[in-house]
């Protein structure tokens, strides 16, 4: 079993105060808590009060290229910006990049030793827009050997055993 850490986001409860941004940037400052700068935060609240849109977003993976085509979501009559729910540090937007080095930022769930009971953005969110959950998940099982056999059998059927073996040998050499 492995532990999965989840920050649950309730956009209806977000009041837009950005305490999460303040504390995240302080925690990740070097030395710890020595400075605050929301631009370095790994969580940002994307908000547009006059449309009543409030979306806390946690920094996810860096991506080299922006999406090919976009979606927009309309929820309860409110149209959200096309990148509203995306966690990527991406060339298309000015988000989740260190303002000095431009290197991508990524949420690490405030990992440290000894571990914190909850990531700090959750601790500082008194409106409970952010809540924390840990759950156990089954480890992904080893690949079933039978699956590989089925795959190879179908390849041999199509290309012949020799071609398949030659190809495997060549790939194995690197």
């Amino acid at each position: 079993m492995k532990k999965v850490k989840v920050i649950k986001i309730d956009v209806d409860k977000c009041n837009g105060c950005r305490a999460c941004e303040a504390i995240c940037s302080a925690f990740h400052a070097e030395p710890k808590y020595s400075s605050t700068n929301p631009e370095r935060s790994r969580i940002r609240v994307l908000f547009d009060p006059l449309k009543d849109i409030y979306v806390p977003v946690l920094a996810g993976e860096y991506t080299e290229a922006e999406c090919n085509g976009r979606d927009t979501y309309t929820i309860n009559g409110k149209e959200y910006d096309e990148c509203s729910f995306c966690r990527a540090s991406c060339p298309s937007r000015d988000l989740f990049k260190d303002p000095d080095s431009d290197l991508p930022l990524k949420c690490d769930m405030c990992e440290e030793e000894p571990p914190l009971p909850e990531p700090l953005c959750v601790q500082w969110c008194l409106s409970d827009a952010l809540t924390y959950e840990e759950r156990e998940e089954e480890e992904e099982e080893e690949e079933n050997p039978r699956e590989m056999e089925i795959g190879l059998e179908s390849l041999i059927k199509k290309h012949g055993a020799k071609t398949v073996m030659d190809t495997v040998a060549r790939l194995a050499k690197g």
Binding site: D12, N15, G16, C17, R18, A19, A22, I23, A26, A29, P31, K32, Y33, S34, S35, T36, N37, P38, E39, R40, D48, P49, L50, K51, D52, Y54, P99, Q123, W124, C125, L126, S127
Partner: protein, 691 residues
């Protein structure tokens, strides 16, 4: 490296179109902290008293509080200071929201604006890049609309914008500076911004704000959060719900308006409607509010949710906070739906939510009394609510009678004449006050209404319950965890407070001490930029005189203890008083409206001022003495006042001392209540009929 502050101010001269970055003197931080304190120092040094508020030589200063942008919860205030066209004294108004932290992240503590631009411009502060940009296309645009348009044209949705609306452009004496979630609205500072030809300041920053002792500082911040959670679960018992919690009064979530509707006066600060609130109205207003308030919102790094996003079928979404929910409603003797409707429009025009409704209700009284006629108000609607909309349009455009009313009640009354002055019954130092009219004089409040430099009671009061607890058990329970008191003896004020002991409770001596405590906490907040709603305003706040010195010391690296902090607050307070003294303010100006209390006690009131002035180290004319100023390191201020001859002025005429001597007590509170003071004759103002 500078801690908590950036150490850099922006100096903008709009006449010349110049932009300079100036390092600030760290010694001034030690003396005045920042925010209002250093603003006052700049105004003293650079704006001589002869300068008219609408002169290019007047300065308009936007300052972040010293702790704004640090992780200290609720440290987000922008302190705007200048000279008021209405009072002609120093004006300072303070707004929450997100502007001040963003300014810090952009790398500046203050934006100091002088001069006047020949055409309408806005300022774009994008970190190191600062530009004065054309704003002629924004002329006449609403304050919120302006912010949206600027963010769009800059392609910077994260920029924070403070803007004026039409009222500021037209130099309405009660024009505000709006920032969406918050506004700096008192004293007509929006008119000064309009006079300077400055439509807005947009700011965006990506730099660090540093903390000197991070670990210690964070421990304090976490303590504040824990305390906020504790208070959420444990509201103060025995006080009205609106006073039981933290934050600015929770007007966006609280439905029970018994306290405001019964205690505050309706119309032109005229009628008490003690029986107004009933089940039926509660049901109706709750429905209105639940429909209007779409979401509760907060300022930067604060969980209090004092504001709301308001939707109304007739309006674009807007943001509201606190008592502006009821000021228009009550001035118009109308209902809550009207309040939501007109407040949104008023915010776009950028006018003060306290003064504006009163000016309009004042005009209506003059009309009903025949002082203003149909000739003065051509096309004046017959419907009550429409009249308020009509007046608002005239005022913000300075059209017809609106041009007169746009100067506020005091100046308008004198311009209109024909007895209109008698209807100016709720101003202090030419500034409209909260519409509250009470029965018996309260000595603490007498001093605060009279001497508050901001001329606005909510910016000086706080900390203490407003009515006595009925039983001894309740009082003892209340003081048990009252850690905020500066001295243990202050608890006696609550412990010994029996019902119906006003105006003789507490003693004059105790009143002076309690007033000083209340105002000191405000002066600290106004320098640090911590929201009064978590500090100087509510009862039992998380920030108080015992932990604030550590907050400031750990953040800045300065070594500040309670005594030093108290002295800094006193220095700032005396400096602001000296600025106003230099502009002509004297004892004669220091009085609450005549009808503020039904029963008045002229001799006791004179004594209250005498004693408070003495207690503060001011002379009998309300002027800080040379010795007081010297002790605070403000000797240059004392010398200036001396050169101007203010100490040689004839002493103010003072009523004879009270016939019965007050028994002075060593600590706040006394049970003795000498009787027999004469009540003052009723104010002459005509009582108008209820609609």
């Amino acid at each position: 490296m500078r801690y908590a502050e950036t150490g850099v101010n922006l100096e903008i001269d709009l006449s010349r179109g110049s932009i300079e970055k100036e390092g600030s003197d760290s010694r001034l931080t030690e003396l005045h902290l920042g925010g209002l304190g250093t603003n006052a120092k700049i105004l003293w040094d650079r704006v001589p008293p002869e300068v008219d508020p609408f002169s290019p030589d007047n300065l308009l200063i936007f300052s972040a509080g010293l702790l704004a942008g640090t992780p200290a919860p609720g440290a987000n205030r922008t302190i705007v200071s200048t000279f008021s066209p209405q009072t002609l004294l120093m004006a300072y108004s303070i707004m929450g929201g997100f502007w001040a932290p963003e300014l810090k992240f952009a790398g500046y503590d203050k934006v100091i604006i002088r001069g006047r631009s020949p055409k309408l411009v806005y300022l774009w502060i994008n970190g190191d890049k600062v530009e004065i940009r054309d704003a002629t296309h924004l002329k006449g645009k609403g304050a919120l609309a302006t912010a949206e348009l600027i963010k769009q044209e800059l392609k910077e949705p994260k920029a924070q914008v403070a803007a004026i609306g039409l009222a500021g452009e037209n130099k309405v004496y009660f024009a505000s500076i709006e920032q969406g979630r918050s506004s700096a609205s008192r004293g007509g500072i929006g008119a000064v911004m309009g006079d300077k030809g400055l439509k807005a300041i947009a700011v965006r920053g990506k730099k660090d704000v540093n903390i000197a002792q991070p670990a210690e500082f964070m421990e304090l911040c976490n303590g504040v959060l824990e305390y906020i959670k504790h208070r959420k679960e444990n509201p103060i018992k025995g006080v009205p719900p609106i006073l039981a919690g933290l934050g600015s009064p929770q007007e966006m979530s609280i439905h029970d308006e018994q306290w405001h509707t019964a205690s505050f006066a309706w119309g032109n600060a005229r009628h008490r409607r003690k029986d107004f609130w009933n089940k039926e109205i509660e049901k109706k207003w709750k429905k209105t509010q639940d429909k209007a308030v779409e979401r509760l919102i907060s300022c930067y790094n604060c969980s209090m949710e004092c504001g709301g996003i308001i939707t109304h079928p007739k309006l674009e979404r807007y943001m509201m906070k606190c008592y502006s929910k009821l000021t228009y409603t009550m001035a118009a003797m109308s209902d809550l739906d009207f309040g939501f409707k007109i407040a949104g429009l008023a915010q776009e025009y950028g006018v003060d939510g306290y003064t504006t409704p009163q000016v309009m209700a004042f005009a209506l009284e003059l009309y009903e009394a025949g002082i203003l006629t149909d000739k003065d108000l051509p096309g004046f609607p017959s419907d009550n609510e429409e009249r308020f909309f009509w007046l608002l349009e005239k005022i913000v455009r300075r059209e017809g009678i609106g041009d007169v009313l746009a100067d506020g009640v005091y100046w308008a009354a004198r311009k209109i004449g024909k007895g209109a002055e008698a209807y100016d019954h709720n101003t202090i130092k030419k500034h409209e006050q909260i519409p509250i009219k009470l029965g018996v004089l309260n000595p603490i409040y007498y001093i605060m209404w009279s001497t508050g430099e901001k001329i606005n009671i909510t910016q000086i009061e706080g900390q203490i319950p407003q009515a006595p607890f009925l039983t001894k058990e309740e009082r003892e329970e209340f003081v048990k965890d009252w850690v905020q008191v500066p001295k243990e003896e202050f608890k006696d004020f609550v412990l010994n407070w029996e019902p119906r002991t006003l105006p003789y409770y507490p003693t004059i001596e105790a009143s002076c001490e309690l007033v000083e405590w209340q105002e000191t906490m405000h002066y600290i907040d106004d320098a640090t930029g911590i929201c009064a709603g978590l500090s100087s305003f509510p009862i039992k706040p998380p920030y108080h005189i015992h932990n604030l010195p550590s907050f400031i010391s750990f953040a800045t690296g300065l070594d500040i203890d309670e005594a030093k902090l108290w002295q800094i607050a006193s220095r700032n307070r005396n400096l602001i008083r000296a600025i106003n003294i230099r502009r002509g303010m004297r004892r004669k100006d220091e009085k609450p409206p005549e009808d503020h209390w039904r029963k008045r006690y002229p001799e006791m009131e004179a004594k209250l001022l005498d004693e408070y002035y003495k207690f503060k180290g001011w002379n009998n004319n309300g002027i800080p003495t040379k010795e007081t100023l010297d002790e605070l390191g403000l000797d240059y201020v004392g010398q200036d006042l001396e050169q101007r001859g203010v100490y040689k002025e004839k002493k103010a005429k003072v009523a004879k001392s009270a016939s019965k001597k007050e028994t002075s007590q060593p600590s706040p509170g006394t049970k003795s209540a000498p009787k027999g003071e004469k009540s003052q004759p009723k104010p002459k103002t005509k009582k108008d009929s209820k609609k």
